[in-house]
C-alpha cells in the first residue's frame, strides 16, 4: 500500500517531467548543438558534430555561425533595436497600466468584476486580429488619418504605418493586459488602513503613494514588466505587420534565416544569443512567479 502510493506519486510527477524533458529541454540542446555546425547542401543542412577519421571519432566544433553574427552589423543592430523596443514598450505599459490597475483595485466591489472582464476580454480574442486591426487604423487612408483630415488638424496624411511608432503601439496594445493583471493582483491586497494612517499623520496623497503603495507593489511591477519585456524581445508578428521594412527585430531575423536563407546553424546561433540575453530576466520571472504561487492565500 505504501509502496504503491510512492509509485503513484512518481508516475504523477514523472509523466509531465518526461514530456517537458523531451519537448522542451532536449530541443534546446539540439538548437545549441546545431549552432556549432556549418551550413551545407544536404539533408540535414548542417555538418555533423562528430565525424570519423581513420576509425577515431573527431569533434567538429564550428564557430562560424557566431562569428558571422558579430561581424555583420545587421545582427548587432537588430539585437539592440529589439532590446530598445522591448524596454521602452515595457515602460509605456507600466506607465499606462499602473494607474489602470490602481483604479480597478480601488473601484467598488460591484464594478470590479466588470472592469476586470473588460481588461481580459481582448486577451481572449485573437492576438493576430487585434494587431491586424491597427493596420486599418494607422495606414495612410486609414481611420486615424481620415478623422484628422476631416477635422482639419492635418492637410496631408501622416505616415503612421511601417514606423517605430506603430511597433510601439502594437506591442503596448497587445501586452497591456499582461501588465495590468499582476499589478491588480498585487494592489488589491494592499491594506487601505496604512494610507489612512499616513493621511492622519499629515502626509499628502502623493507622498503616501510614493512611501507606501509604490514600494509594496514592487513584486507586481516586476511580474508585469517581465511578462511584457521577455516575449517582446522576440516579437515576430507585430513588427512584421506594423514595423519598418528596413529595421528588423531579432525574432524576424531568426525566422528569415531559417525559412528564407535555409541557414539552420545561423538561425540556431541567433536563438542561443537571444536566450543568453534573456536568461537573467527569465530566471527573475521564475523567482517572482514561484513566490507568488507559494504565497497564495
Amino acid at each position: 500500500m505504501r509502496l504503491s502510493q510512492a509509485m503513484g506519486r512518481r508516475l504523477i510527477a514523472g509523466v509531465p517531467t518526461l514530456w517537458l524533458l523531451l519537448l522542451f529541454l532536449i530541443p534546446f540542446l539540439i538548437v545549441f548543438r546545431i549552432s556549432f555546425s556549418e551550413v551545407r547542401l544536404a539533408i540535414p543542412p548542417y555538418t555533423p558534430l562528430l565525424s570519423w577519421h581513420h576509425g577515431a571519432p573527431r569533434l567538429e566544433v564550428h564557430w562560424s555561425a557566431y562569428s558571422f553574427l558579430f561581424t555583420d552589423p545587421m545582427y548587432v543592430s537588430s539585437y539592440l533595436y529589439s532590446l530598445k523596443v522591448a524596454a521602452l514598450s515595457t515602460l509605456c505599459c507600466l506607465l499606462i497600466g499602473y494607474p489602470m490597475a490602481y483604479a480597478i483595485a480601488r473601484a467598488g466591489a460591484a464594478t470590479r468584476p466588470l472592469l476586470l472582464m473588460l481588461i481580459v476580454l481582448p486577451f481572449w480574442t485573437s492576438f493576430l486580429l487585434r494587431v491586424y486591426a491597427w493596420i486599418g487604423l494607422l495606414k495612410s487612408n486609414g481611420v486615424i488619418n481620415n478623422v484628422l483630415l476631416s477635422l482639419g488638424v492635418i492637410h496631408h496624411p501622416l505616415a503612421l504605418l511601417q514606423t517605430d511608432f506603430a511597433v510601439y503601439i502594437g506591442i503596448v496594445y497587445s501586452y497591456l493586459p499582461f501588465m495590468i493583471l499582476p499589478l491588480y493582483a498585487n494592489l488589491e491586497k494592499h491594506d487601505p488602513a496604512l494610507l489612512e494612517a499616513a493621511a492622519d499623520l499629515g502626509a499628502r496623497p502623493w507622498r503616501a503613494f510614493l512611501a507606501i503603495t509604490l514600494p509594496q507593489s514592487l513584486p507586481g511591477i516586476a511580474a508585469g514588466s517581465l511578462l511584457v519585456f521577455i516575449p517582446a524581445v522576440g516579437e515576430y508578428v507585430i513588427p512584421t505587420l506594423l514595423g519598418r521594412p528596413d529595421q528588423l527585430m531579432i525574432g524576424r531575423v531568426l525566422s528569415d534565416e531559417f525559412f528564407e536563407n535555409r541557414d539552420w546553424p545561423v538561425a540556431s546561433a541567433v536563438a542561443i544569443v537571444i536566450l543568453l540575453l534573456l536568461v537573467v530576466p527569465i530566471l527573475l520571472f521564475q523567482r517572482v512567479e514561484r513566490r507568488q504561487l507559494e504565497a497564495a492565500p
Partner: protein
C-alpha cells in the same frame, strides 16, 4: 469619492478606450460595402456581403476546422499533463526533481515564440532521422507543440488553485482510510475543477490563436486559421478578415459574459443559502 482617485480613473477610462477602439473599428468596417475597407461607403452600407464572401471561402473554412480539431486535442491533453504537474508541484513537497519540473514548466510562458518554434521543429527533424517518426511535419507535430506550451498555463492555474486550499481535507480523508486515488477523485478533483475548466479554456484559446510556433512545425497542407489569416493580411487589409474577426469577437464576448453572469449567479445563490442556513439556526 475623494478627488484623489480622479487621475487613475481618467487613466482607466482612456486605457479602456485604447483597448476597444481597434476592435470596434474592425466590427464597424466589416459591414462596409467598399473594398477599400477603411473608406466608409455610405450609399451601400451597412451590408453583410463580406460575411457571405467569408462563408464561401473554402480555404478559411478548412483552416478553421483544422484549428478547432488541433485546439480540442491540445487543450484536452494539456489539461491532463498540466493537472499532474500542478498536483506534483503543490502537493508533493520538496521531492527530488521538483526544481527541474518547476523550472521547465513556467519557462514556455515567457519564452519568445520563435525560439520555442525553432527548437521544436529541430527536435521533430532529429527524431525523424533517428527513429523515423514523425515522417514529416503536419497536424500531429502542431498538436504536440501546442500541448507543450499550453500545459504550462494549465499547471500555473491548477497549482495556484491548489495553493489556495490547505491539505487538511485530503489528510482527513486519508486518516479515515480512503485510498489516495479515491481521495484524488472525491476531494482534490472537485476542488480544482474550476481551475481545470478555466485551464482548458485558456489552453484552447492559446492553441486556436497561435501563429508563430505553428508556422515552424506546420507542413504543406496543414495551414491553421491564424496561418491563413496572416498570409492574407501580410499584404494589406481584406474586408472578409474583418467579418471573421467580428464573428470571433462576438463569440468570445458572449461566452465570457455568460460565464461571468453564471458565476455571479452561483455566488449569489451560495450567499442566499448561507443566510437561510444562518436564519434556520436562530
Amino acid at each position: 469619492m475623494k478627488p484623489r482617485g480622479l487621475f487613475s480613473r481618467i487613466a482607466l477610462t482612456l486605457g479602456l478606450v485604447f483597448l476597444y477602439v481597434p476592435i470596434v473599428s474592425m466590427i464597424v468596417f466589416s459591414f462596409n460595402n467598399s473594398r477599400l475597407v477603411t473608406v466608409w461607403d455610405g450609399a451601400h452600407s451597412p451590408t453583410l456581403k463580406w460575411y457571405g464572401v467569408l462563408v464561401h471561402n473554402e480555404q478559411i473554412l478548412t483552416a478553421a476546422w483544422l484549428s478547432i480539431r488541433i485546439a480540442l486535442t491540445a487543450a484536452s491533453a494539456a489539461v491532463v499533463l498540466g493537472t499532474l504537474a500542478g498536483v506534483a508541484l503543490a502537493r508533493f513537497g520538496a521531492y527530488r526533481g521538483r526544481l527541474l519540473l518547476a523550472g521547465m514548466v513556467t519557462a514556455p510562458i515567457v519564452m519568445p515564440e520563435v525560439i520555442t518554434g525553432l527548437s521544436l521543429l529541430l527536435l521533430f527533424v532529429a527524431l525523424g532521422q533517428l527513429i523515423g517518426w514523425p515522417k514529416g511535419v503536419g497536424a500531429v507535430t502542431i498538436a504536440l507543440a501546442h500541448i507543450t506550451f499550453c500545459m504550462a498555463y494549465v499547471t500555473v492555474v491548477v497549482q495556484s488553485r491548489l495553493a489556495g486550499f490547505d491539505e487538511s481535507l485530503e489528510e482527513a480523508a486519508m486518516d479515515l482510510g480512503a485510498r489516495p486515488l479515491k481521495v484524488f477523485f472525491r476531494i482534490t478533483l472537485p476542488l480544482i475543477l474550476p481551475a481545470i475548466a478555466s485551464g482548458w479554456l485558456l489552453a484552447f484559446t492559446l492553441s486556436w490563436d497561435d501563429l508563430v510556433i505553428t508556422q515552424f512545425v506546420a507542413g504543406p497542407g496543414s495551414s491553421t486559421l491564424p496561418m491563413v489569416v496572416f498570409s492574407k493580411v501580410r499584404f494589406g487589409v481584406t474586408p472578409d478578415v474583418n467579418a471573421l474577426a467580428t464573428i470571433l469577437v462576438l463569440l468570445v464576448a458572449t461566452g465570457i459574459a455568460v460565464s461571468t453572469l453564471w458565476m455571479h449567479y452561483q455566488q449569489r445563490r451560495r450567499e442566499r443559502d448561507l443566510q437561510l442556513a444562518a436564519a434556520a439556526n436562530l
